[in-house]
């Protein structure tokens, strides 16, 4: 049986931990709100963009841009791995990295090379540990406030790499934010751009049928050539937003669990403490009673 003092110290320690986890949980909650606002702010742009792109792609026909054409021989794949910078968010990063790893295993039998574009420290650390080729690493973005230019710079690099043949395919691994309690890792192809009709962006006003016949300036094909790289940036930006939001949600859930676990521990420790105290009192009483009996005798 632990002594009274030991149990008391332990209770104190767990209480302190609980304070920390609760504070972190609250910070994550407020950051989650901000991240969700960012996502909402992006939605009109994404919706409009998908709409215009869809109608243009139809008109310009296939093979209008090299970004749309799959390579016959795929040798090198770049994976854009979005993870968080910091830990303490449950299985969030592990899930993402597992998804990337599984994807690599599936594709690696054809003797492919992989390289990584990292967003987030956890993913980068994993790549370093496993001796992966890292093309660029961007820290301090996921989970913080960032602008579209981040996605723009990274996207430009990928598009250039794809055009000059450094990469034959580019995939992005990110965490899709479904709800506060559910985020799933997703592997999505961004280059070559998959057929656009299946654009998965949310629709904004379905009540208004889209009028497709536009006069285009410059020609539809040129316009499409201008828009497609932007499509890549938009995809990356949305992946980053989703991952950021998911990170905060995951951390919130993890901290919530930790706080609950702390409460349980405090309860059971308090019980142990009370038991020990009671045992000590009983022992003392026994002593006194025993002594009195002996004197009588």
């Amino acid at each position: 049986m632990a002594t009274l003092k030991d149990v008391q110290i332990k209770i104190g320690a767990v209480k302190k931990t609980k304070q920390i986890t609760r504070a972190m949980g609250m910070v994550a909650t407020s950051k989650l709100r901000g991240a969700q606002q960012n996502m909402d702010g992006f939605r009109p742009y994404a919706a409009k963009f998908a709409e215009v792109l869809g109608s243009l792609a139809e008109k310009a026909g296939e093979g209008a841009s090299p970004l749309l054409v799959p390579r016959e021989e795929v040798k090198k794949i770049n994976i854009v791995l979005c993870t968080s910078d910091r830990g303490l968010c449950g299985g969030f990063n592990v899930n993402l990295i597992t998804a990337a790893n599984k994807f690599m295993k599936e594709r690696s039998e054809q003797g492919l090379d992989f390289s990584f574009t990292n967003f987030g420290k956890k993913g980068r650390d994993w790549c370093r540990k496993n001796k992966m080729e890292i093309d660029s690493a961007n820290l301090g973005i996921v989970g913080a406030r960032f602008g579209f230019n981040v996605a723009l710079t990274a996207g430009q690099k990928l598009v250039d790499g794809f055009l000059d043949g450094t990469y034959d395919e580019v995939y992005v691994v990110f965490s899709e934010f479904i709800s506060r309690s559910k985020q799933i890792p997703v592997v999505k192809q961004i280059l070559p751009i998959p057929p656009i009709e299946t654009a998965e962006e949310e629709e904004v006003d379905t009540d208004k049928p889209y009028q497709a016949e536009h006069i285009c300036e410059p020609s539809p094909a040129e316009l499409l050539g201008d828009l497609l790289p932007r499509h890549v940036y938009v995809q990356i930006y949305s992946a980053l937003l989703e991952t950021s939001t998911s990170e905060h949600a995951a951390r919130m859930a993890a901290m919530d669990n930790a706080t609950t676990a702390c409460n349980d521990m405090i309860n059971s420790l308090t019980l142990a403490y009370n038991k020990a105290r009671q045992a000590a009192i009983t022992a003392q009483l026994m002593d006194i009673v025993g002594g009195a009996e002996a004197l009588k005798g």
Binding site: N38, G41, F42, P44, Y45, A46, K48, F49, V52, L56, G147, F148, N149, A151, L152, Q211, E213, H214, I215, C216, E217, P218, L223, D226, L227, V234, Y237
Partner: protein, 138 residues
């Protein structure tokens, strides 16, 4: 003029303008174009520059646009830009320092072919347009 056209300027970060306008003039990549209500569906890329429009109270307003594209429909103009700022939101100090930085880079002739050089030129263009928009009188 029969009525007002709805103008919307959206960037990936937020919606910058969403209001009625009498006329919208945008910097198309093949030249400036104006849009009134009832315009034929029209799609154009935009270059860096200023978008101006006359709001419902006949006040002329300016918005800085750093490239993107615009879609005009009979009742609505949508501008999708990488970044856009209303005149009053332009950060003058930042634009000025960006301009100076870009000019400094451009004077370094040794790197003429460099990617940085191209970037600096684009940055300079952006900064100049920002200043121009900010400097227009009411």
């Amino acid at each position: 003029m029969a009525g007002n056209i709805i103008l919307e300027v959206v960037t990936p970060e937020k919606s910058v303008v969403s209001e009625e306008a009498k006329i919208v003039v945008a910097p198309g990549s093949l030249g400036e174009f104006g849009v009134l209500i009832g315009h034929t569906p029209f799609l154009s890329t935009l270059k860096v520059g200023s978008l101006r429009y006359m709001d419902a109270n006949n006040v002329e307003r300016y918005v800085f646009i750093s490239g993107g594209f615009a879609e005009a429909l009979p009742g609505k103009v949508t501008v999708l830009a990488e970044s856009a700022e209303r005149r009053r939101d332009i950060d003058l100090e930042r634009a000025k320092s960006a301009m100076e930085r870009a000019q400094k880079r451009l004077t370094d002739v040794s790197k003429k072919q460099d990617v940085d050089f191209m970037r600096a030129r684009i940055a300079l263009e952006r900064a100049l347009h920002r200043l121009r928009v900010a400097g227009t009188r009411r």
